[in-house]
Symmetry: C2
Subunit: 403 residues, 2 copies
């Protein structure tokens, strides 16, 4: 019998209990022993809940129970969750989490601690929900030198951009739709400003590099500046707009990590990833491209990933599973040094200046639109592009990178 | 230091040596120790080859070397490969293989033997080349009750169908192109008749069910009967034709497994999988759909998967990793009992008879084509459909299932 504890009886926590209850036979068979939820820690009571008798309010009950070897931390935040996780790992108990904020911030520290205490810190659910991307990077694509990861890691922004592309909704309408459907929170900042994707990218890039990629150093740009007009120009050129998280392992050992909206060809495999779906394209030096696609969020897919971690911990009791993510900081590449093409929209009367400043690019106009035009530059360094935009005062209305 | 042996210095065997050589640092770091190829068993000599000094001709050298704990069987076939694998596992040496024929036939037997001898039999490369689908089913999607797998598992047939769809090539032209590019063998039977996909589906279905799904009992139909005309009707209706391998875990405990060409909507995620790419769509009861996509064959992607297995074996020396695939036969569901819609082409003068026999369906005609027509039936049992077709003598020219 494997007794586990669940910290936090919110959306993911109740999902964990549900997955273990509903798939009890499969879970126990894969774990090699029966898996049972002994404690659910929450500040609240849940009168009438089928698991009412497991609800406790004192963390020490879990910490001091020698029969609890695996704990799911699904409470979120970096306060109590940090303290609890440290104490559990120090006591040699494995921790499985969906808390991406905590993993991005303290993953290296917890992995080091788990290795020293012969237990495990696992976080499959922290990136891509139910898509097994963490385990694939850690245990499947191990013979590869992974060169880059290009991913749609935030379902909310992907939903909003899909609506804007398909129905010509403007950003505000699409956000409202997302909120009505429960895909976006009332305060959507973490999603639409790219912070959520940034944390997930920090985790993925750290695992690929084996060193710590600090989320605070990742260039992060949200989707709030994208307009319906941008989509009209994109469509004319066979392009789509997606919010991408990109982690590139550079030849010089540095990591180029960024989260931003990008224009990409309709033929690109990520272009077809719509609505709340996530996808991760991993490029390895032997494999070429592999793509993982699925629901990046949601109660049950996320809980399923947490429970898969529980099973893995059960199969490795007393044994630390190698996971290379050192505390040493990875060298960050400077985004402004990278070269790429850009799209910009500018006021109609600046067309001559834009075409001169960005010689070698291409203007396009929308039928019936006379006060502005679109322009695709040739390949330029970001800092060069920035300087040129700045030199033209307020001529440039919006700008989006091309993949 | 982890010393390994490679059985067979053909395409995959030389790929394994190349991956370990080229990604030596990554491979050794992930394995926790340096990985080195000590022996390469082949009947031939390779004068001038950089690994010439590792080539041996006597299998017993490997079997009797106590420092060899991991062996890659990449020689293919079910004769010597079977004997060698048995002897190695009996001696407690782990075996990693790309030999899908052997895995499909003896997987359950070898897994049982490996468990008894505290070593491992791993076969990530046997399905989907470099796509980590075996490991995902075994170690990542473990909290799921997997309901079905729908997959494009053969790159050769997918390439041929892609050419037929895109350029209107007929089957013979497309096959010739595939042969010229090295995607199809001179004798293409194993690919175009579906046998290769059938073996891979047997492996995947066995792992999902946990019982043995015999390849010989899987309904298997090739693509040789698909014509350019079929694609023209498909296009008119927004459909594509793909060779699919489907494994469905039925409510009654049986497994419905089949390999056949299917018509599916252009909007279906597998419709966009083109050329030699493979993709596996797994449907779980908690996760919903997850898709894995990548190169399903090729020297380096396949070798990368074999080496990932070597690393996993290195991390689990003396410990068997749970892999549930019992020797007990899974109950096979009867394909003729399943219900679906069908497309058929028939001679023009039988239109009235077809429309009467398959009442509730829909005829379509191609502009300028007068000697035949297409017809989509309503949902029918396969055996009912078969009987109705038979009742009309030689009226029906071709028939394809709808997904």
């Amino acid at each position: 019998m494997i007794n586990i504890a669940v910290l936090g009886y919110g959306v993911v926590g109740s999902g964990v209990v549900e997955v273990i209850g509903h798939n009890h036979e499969e879970v126990s068979r894969k774990a090699g022993e029966e898996v049972r939820v002994r404690y659910i820690l929450d500040l609240r009571d849940f009168p009438g809940d089928p698991y009412e008798d497991r609800i406790i309010h004192d963390f020490n009950t879990i910490l001091n129970d020698p029969e609890i070897a695996i704990v799911c931390e699904v409470m979120g935040g970096t306060g109590a969750a940090y303290q609890f996780t440290r104490q559990l790992l120090e006591a040699g108990k494995s921790v499985c989490t969906s808390n991406k904020e905590l993993v991005a911030k303290h993953g290296a520290e917890f992995l080091e601690l788990a290795a020293a205490r012969h237990c495990n810190y696992m976080f499959e659910a922290s990136v891509g929900g139910g898509i097994p991307i963490i385990r694939s990077v850690n245990t499947a694509l191990t013979a590869e030198k992974i060169e880059s990861v290009t991913a749609i890691l935030n379902g909310t922004t992907n939903y909003i951009l899909t609506r804007m592309a398909g129905e010509g909704a403007d950003y505000g309408q699409a956000l409202k739709q997302a909120q009505e459907l429960g895909y976006a929170e009332r305060n959507p900042e973490a999603d639409v400003e790219g912070y959520d994707a940034c944390r997930k990218l920090a985790i993925l890039s750290s695992l690929i590099k084996g060193k710590n990629v600090d989320a605070g150093q990742i260039y992060t740009e949200g989707i709030t500046g994208i307009t319906g007009a941008d989509f009209e120009y994109a469509r004319m050129e066979g392009l789509v707009i997606k919010q991408l998280a990109i982690g590139k392992m550079e030849e010089d050992g540095s990591v180029l990590a960024m989260v931003a909206p990008f224009l990409l060809s309709e033929e690109h495999p990520l272009a077809a990833v719509n609505d709340v779906f996530n996808a991760v394209l991993v490029t390895g030096n032997m494999l070429g491209d592999v793509i993982f696609y699925g629901r990046g969020a949601g109660k049950l897919p996320t809980a399923s990933a947490v429970v898969a971690d529980v099973i893995d911990c059960a199969k490795h009791r007393g044994k630390n599973v190698i996971c290379i993510w050192d505390r040493e900081a990875a060298k960050a590449a400077d985004v402004t040094d990278t070269k790429r093409r850009f799209f910009l929209r500018a006021k109609a009367d600046t067309r001559k200046a834009v075409e001169e400043t960005f010689a070698g690019g291409k203007s396009i106009t929308l039928p019936g639109v006379e006060n502005e035009f679109g322009f695709f530059t040739r390949e330029l360094e970001e800092k060069d592009f920035d300087a040129k935009c700045k030199s033209m005062g307020d001529a440039v209305l919006n700008r989006i990178r091309l993949l």
